[in-house]
Amino acid sequence: MAEASLTLEEQGEAARAFLSGLFDAFGYEATFDVELRDAETVEVRAHGDNLGLLVGPRGATLAAVQDLTRTFVQRQSEARTDRVLVDIAGYREKRTAALQRFTTGIVEEVVASGEERALEPMGAADRKVVHDTVNSLAGARTRSEGVEPRRYIVIEPVR
């Protein structure tokens, strides 16, 4: 049964403990740091050599590791755990930077052409990166359309 709610810090520590055991089972040496990104997001990052196997093709294994980490934390906490993020070997960080560059390029095209652009469907975490990036730029705004897991963002010009 779920225990009383954990604070975000405690959720981060539970996630670190789970990941530490998982990396041990893999026989990988890794170090971890836990960072509160904001009031409702905690990120656990694993650093080490040759961790690419745990990232997997297009981050698929990393996504599974994050799912299982959240499941583990959920077992111990009644609080929602969808704000527990996991990164391995800096993968998510690099992907976020690439998505920001991609989004900035689309915004420039939308502003220049005056025509909206629909993006491919993407997950909630990636959509948040796109929303935040567009909101930080002038001349365009976002709206979301479609239903999960095919929900997608449209970037439209602001006149």
């Binding site: 049964m1 789970f18 055991g21 998982l22 041990d24 089972a25 893999f26 026989g27 040759n50 961790l51 690419g52 196997l53 745990l54 990232v55 997997g56 093709p57 698929a60 294994t61 996504a63 599974a64 590791v65 799912d67 299982l68 499941t71 583990f72 077992r75």
Partner: protein
């Protein structure tokens, strides 16, 4: 990913120490076994009720996971999401051992 080949090399080197059971017999997929056992053990409430059978055929290993009835939902997850995540991570561990893996959550 670049890590795969290097990781397999490490697994080969460690295979002699890790890849044997208590009786000293060769065990296929030692990393995958350790990982499926760790993941299932971390998710269930009733760890004592967990048994995991491994059936090795050549370079593939099939794991059959048995858990307490009240833990079935936890291990499978909504729309099978937890079971699928277990399969993905165990497959990565199997790649370290040079074996293909499958994971069945057995309903009894």
């Amino acid at each position: 990913m670049t890590g795969v080949d290097e990781a397999e090399g490490v697994a080969e080197a460690e295979g002699v120490a890790e890849g044997t059971d208590d009786a000293g017999n060769r065990v296929e997929g030692p990393t995958a076994r350790a990982v499926v056992s760790y993941l299932v053990g971390s998710i269930v409430e009733d760890g004592d009720a967990v048994t995991i059978d491994a059936d090795a055929r050549g370079r593939s290993v099939r794991f059959q996971v048995h858990v307490a009835p009240e833990d079935m939902g936890r291990v499978i997850g909504r729309r099978g999401r937890v079971a699928q995540a277990i399969r993905t991570v165990v497959a990565a561990a199997g790649a370290r051992d040079g074996v293909q893996t499958s994971v069945d959550i057995v309903d009894e």
